[in-house]
Amino acid sequence: SQQGEEDPQALSIQEGENATMNCSYKTSINNLQWYRQNSGRGLVHLILIRSNEREKHSGRLRVTLDTSKKSSSLLITASRAADTASYFCATDAGSGGYQKVTFGIGTKLQVIP
């Protein structure tokens, strides 16, 4: 079963607006990552937040993590048409060498010029 579940499944906004996507998960994690997938392409890593971090920024991206609620949010500020893509959260859990990574089903973002 999927560990991460994104919400909403689809989002349509005007260029310049902010886009917020949420991810909920079920079990304790080590890290949570966000990936972007442009249509017909592979996933590209955006940002990683560790379980002991609460907020992280990278350019126009802001990620928050609330381990008590088992949820994370990805905020894209001042969106651009080029941000149109699907966004996935991925959680990893376990200890030792291999840590199982589980991807959610994604949020499809459309930014209208």
Binding site: Q2, N30, N31, Q33, G40, R41, G42, L43, V44, H45, L48, R50, F88, A90, D92, G97, Y98, Q99, V101, T102, F103, G104, I105, G106
Partner: protein, 117 residues
């Protein structure tokens, strides 16, 4: 660096046919993965490898086999293709967190779109 490459990009098979998907990475990564992506299902892990010569089952391994004879290559085989295996297949690679400062970012290939008739 080419990163992660996948061959072929597209393929159409008939039920019962076999094929091998090739994944290659030039980043000297220890870990490699095969996923399938279906609408509404997200990415599901088929098999993975934590090093040359080792493979392990993921979430949906039935109907697939893999081999990792060389560190840079990870092959996914379908012995007898079924329509249920129509999907987009992604290969990815990563370093173990202990070698990457705790970061287990995965690097993805461009995908192989497979249709089984």
């Amino acid at each position: 660096n080419a990163g992660v490459t996948q061959t072929p990009k597209f393929r159409v098979l008939k039920t019962g046919q076999s094929m091998t998907l090739l994944c290659a990475q030039d980043m000297n990564h220890e870990y490699m993965y095969w996923y399938r992506q279906d609408p509404g299902m997200g990415l599901r892990l088929i098999h993975y490898s934590v090093g040359e010569g080792t493979t392990a089952k993921g979430e949906v391994p039935d109907g697939y086999n893999v081999s990792r004879l060389k560190k840079q290559n990870f092959l996914l085989g379908l012995e007898s293709a079924a329509p249920s295996q129509t999907s987009v297949y992604f290969c990815a690679s990563s370093q173990p967190p202990r070698l990457a400062g705790g970061n287990n970012e995965q690097f993805f290939g461009p995908g192989t779109r497979l249709t089984v008739l």
